[in-house]
């Protein structure tokens, strides 16, 4: 079965309520059609439900709408959902039935679910379900996903057999009817409306037909809208009663402030600022627990297990590696939680409204703000969410710059490095300086993305005029359980996807660091020869071993290239290993430095103590700033590269994104280090 509806109608909430935690989010890279699949059981039957992206009509303007229409039109009969659930909005029947009315003419088995029924009751809206059902020829169920009303009735209706009968055609003018029917005969379409959609959406031979018969597609579409709204207007008048005395216009009242020319922006900035402080302050505690927990687990393992290669692999390779992933979880969870609140409450669309003009200066649309903000959690879903942008140029620019936003994978890297140069207890007023510095890094990402956008705006050419036409959903109190399910899904897929890469990298690193060539194997003899000492201290042997391990050799081979940035070969190793995923940096650092020390310290303490060959601090101010800049701009994320390729279907744009970000990172780090050293 599949769930269809306009965006912002509580579709996700309904989906979460029906399926709970039994969901599979399409694994980002490599999936052809991204759809959330969920499962639930009813009357001993296992039901699979697909959550299709929100669309406003069957005439797609953006690529996610295209996906849905393609899915509805081209899925072969045997794979087509047994039933469609079309979602409408009890608070705005006429408008939300528009999509239903179109889908209805596809004559597939379907159920109309009308959401927000409880809220509608409170507002004095009464819907005559039987009348609607009789007029539309499909089962109609009132639901309120948030209050869990009507869910069982909906499930019952899904399992019942429904016969769909073709309705009288009311989407073309009578004078155009014969032309449509003769077109239907030519294309052998199933139903008149399928023929209509082919004529309107398809090119090639179809446009020849249109030309030959003097069909003005645009006029047909316009007529369709007028005729359908006329039909729906009458229908709603007959079956929906509105007690005007109970009507409250909460949303427009609130919007007087939230979209105000001054206050709107003040509130928006305050919300952003609040998010950053929340990430830092709230997440700090669980992160500390995880960090020290991992450190003690690590020392416990090495103390309890019999000494040997396996014990070392666990305590110095695997455990610090896993710790490097787990330490993100609090921040990612908080970020996804807050974003889900913004999205579900309806505020996200206000941001689009407020920011559109500003974004247009940078060649983007107000809709680009959504990917940019979600890019602060993770660039992968963010780049996918750019699909809602209709204009190709605006969409391309958005996709290209989104990875510059500070994603959650950068946070641990930033936290570790910022912690090295600014003490924990430094405050300016009530604000922790570390928190302000992190905010500075977020700002840097935003500013740089806008600069790059300006450049791209000048480069990319387009022949299509862009437009913006969006629904402003009613403000709703988000449903916490549904929000938590989204957070859980995101965190789970993040830990799983990133975790696998990090785990594999940790093991490979450990093996590379503990094996080497001749010099490595005979470290003791080589050292005693060169230093002409009988008993070389163990510390020196370990250091020499690491330097001559396969990992050390790799690190040293790129040292000439990274020396101008202020990095030694150990950081070089971390750079190499974090090419695929930047968060690996922290776990690599902790793996590399555990190999050399017996003490179990937290990552940050280890790095603070680290000295380079000449005795100066390995992570001095200049090197730390240079590293911060490198990680701010470099595209060290295989998943982002994969998703950009998938979304743009172009090697050129994917390559450009990787190239410009790498160059930007290298030169920014270079300049910073040379100026500060």
């Amino acid at each position: 079965m599949a769930l269809i509806g306009n965006a912002n109608l509580g579709k996700t909430t309904l989906f979460n309520k029906l399926c709970g935690l039994k969901q599979k989010t399409g694994n980002y890279p490599g999936v052809t059609v991204d759809k959330n699949k969920g499962f639930f059981e009813h009357q001993d039957q296992k039901i699979e439900l697909i959550d299709l992206p929100g669309i406003s009509s069957l005439f797609p303007k953006s690529s996610d709408e295209e996906l849905v229409v393609q899915y509805l039109m081209e899925t072969p009969e045997n794979e087509f959902p047994d039933k469609l659930i079309v979602l409408a909005n009890a608070l705005n029947m006429k408008r939300s039935l528009y999509l239903f009315d179109q889908v209805r003419d596809l004559n597939k088995p379907m159920v109309l679910a009308i959401n927000f029924s409880e809220l509608a009751k409170k507002r004095g809206i009464f819907i005559d379900v039987d009348k609607l059902s009789a007029q539309l020829g499909v089962p109609v169920i009132l639901v309120d996903a948030k209050h869990k009303t009507g869910l069982d009735e909906l499930k019952d209706a899904l399992l019942e057999k429904t016969d769909i009968v073709e309705r009288d055609i009311h989407f073309v003018r009578e004078s155009d009817l014969d032309t449509l029917l003769s077109f239907k005969k030519i294309t052998n379409s199933e139903h008149p409306y399928t023929a209509f959609l082919q004529l309107a959406n398809g090119g090639g031979d179809y446009s020849k037909f249109a030309e030959h018969h003097g069909v003005n597609i645009k006029e047909w579409k316009t007529n369709e809208s007028i005729l359908r709204y006329k039909f729906l207007g009458k229908l709603v008048e007959q079956s929906v009663e509105i007690d005007k005395s109970k009507a409250i216009d909460f949303t427009t009242q609130l919007d007087r402030v939230l979209t105000h020319n001054v206050w709107g922006y003040v509130i928006f900035l305050a919300i952003l600022f609040g998010i950053f402080q929340a990430i830092f302050l709230l997440a700090a505690y669980p992160m500390d627990w995880i960090d020290s927990g991992i450190a003690s687990l690590s020392s416990w393992t090495s103390d309890t297990l019999p000494e040997g290669y396996f014990s070392d692999l666990l305590s110095q390779g695997l455990i610090p590696g896993i710790g490097g992933v787990l330490i993100f979880v609090p921040q990612i969870a908080i970020l996804f939680f807050l974003f889900a609140l913004l999205e579900e409450s309806g505020y996200m669309q206000r941001i689009v409204f407020l920011m559109d003009k500003f974004m247009q200066r940078f060649g983007m649309s107000g809709k680009s703000v959504v990917p940019m903000i979600s890019g602060m959690a993770c660039a992968v879903p963010a780049i996918m969410s750019a699909r809602t942008i209709e204009n190709t140029k605006e969409r391309m620019i958005t996709i290209l710059i989104t990875p510059l936003m500070t994603c959650s994978a950068r946070i641990p890297v930033y936290i570790v490095i910022i912690g090295l140069i600014i003490p924990d207890d430094k405050f300016v007023g009530i604000f922790q300086v570390q928190g302000l510095m992190l905010m500075g890094m977020y700002l840097l990402g935003i500013v740089m993305s806008l600069i790059v956008a300006l450049v791209l705006k000048a480069i990319i050419k387009t022949k299509f005029k862009s437009y913006l036409l969006i629904d402003m959903p009613e403000y709703l109190v988000p449903e916490i359980k549904s929000v938590l399910i989204s957070v859980w899904n995101n965190v789970r897929s993040f830990v799983w996807d990133a975790g696998r890469i990090i785990l594999a990298t940790s093991i490979i690193l450990f093996v590379l660091a503990t094996n080497g060539g001749e010099k490595f194997k005979n470290a003791e003899t080589v050292l005693s020869k060169t230093t002409q000492q009988e008993n070389v201290p163990q510390e020196k042997i370990d250091a020499f071993k690491l330097e001559n391990s396969y990992l050390g050799i790799m690190g040293r081979s790129i040292e000439p290239a990274i020396e101008p940035l202020g990095y030694d070969w150990k950081i070089g190793i971390a750079l190499i290993s974090s090419l695929a995923a930047r968060e690996v940096f922290v776990s690599t650092m902790s793996t590399i430095y555990s190999i050399n020390s017996d003490e179990e310290l937290t990552i940050r303490d280890k790095l603070k103590k680290e000295r380079s060959a000449n005795g100066s601090l390995a992570f001095g101010f200049a090197t730390s700033v240079s590293l911060l800049l490198f990680y701010a701009f470099a595209l060290q994320c295989l998943s982002t590269v994969a998703v950009t390729y998938k979304e743009t279907k172009s090697i050129k744009w994917t390559g450009l994104q990787f190239l410009y970000m790498t160059l930007l990172a290298y030169f920014a780090a270079f300049i910073a280090f040379q100026l500060l050293k």
Binding site: S225, T252, N261, L354, K465, Y467, L469, I470
Partner: protein, 71 residues
């Protein structure tokens, strides 16, 4: 009058949608001749216009609002 030239909180009726590349989309959103509307907000610096048409809340760019004639 063009919708784009109105002041906040103006209430009126749409009379005509001028032909444009997105006019079909406006129709789909229920912005039709004869529909009544209220102008709820205007973003600064000629930013988008925020209207209520029937029961729908819709935001659109000023350039699109230019194509909507109202009274």
């Amino acid at each position: 009058m063009k919708l784009s030239t109105l002041e906040k909180y103006f209430t009126g009726t749409i009379i005509e949608i001028l032909e444009g590349s997105f006019s079909a989309k406006l129709f789909e959103f229920g912005i039709l001749p004869g529909a009544s509307f209220t102008l709820i907000g205007k973003a600064p610096f000629n930013g988008p216009v925020y209207i209520k048409v029937d029961d729908s809340l819709i935001a659109l760019r000023k350039s699109e609002a230019d194509c909507i004639l109202v009274k």
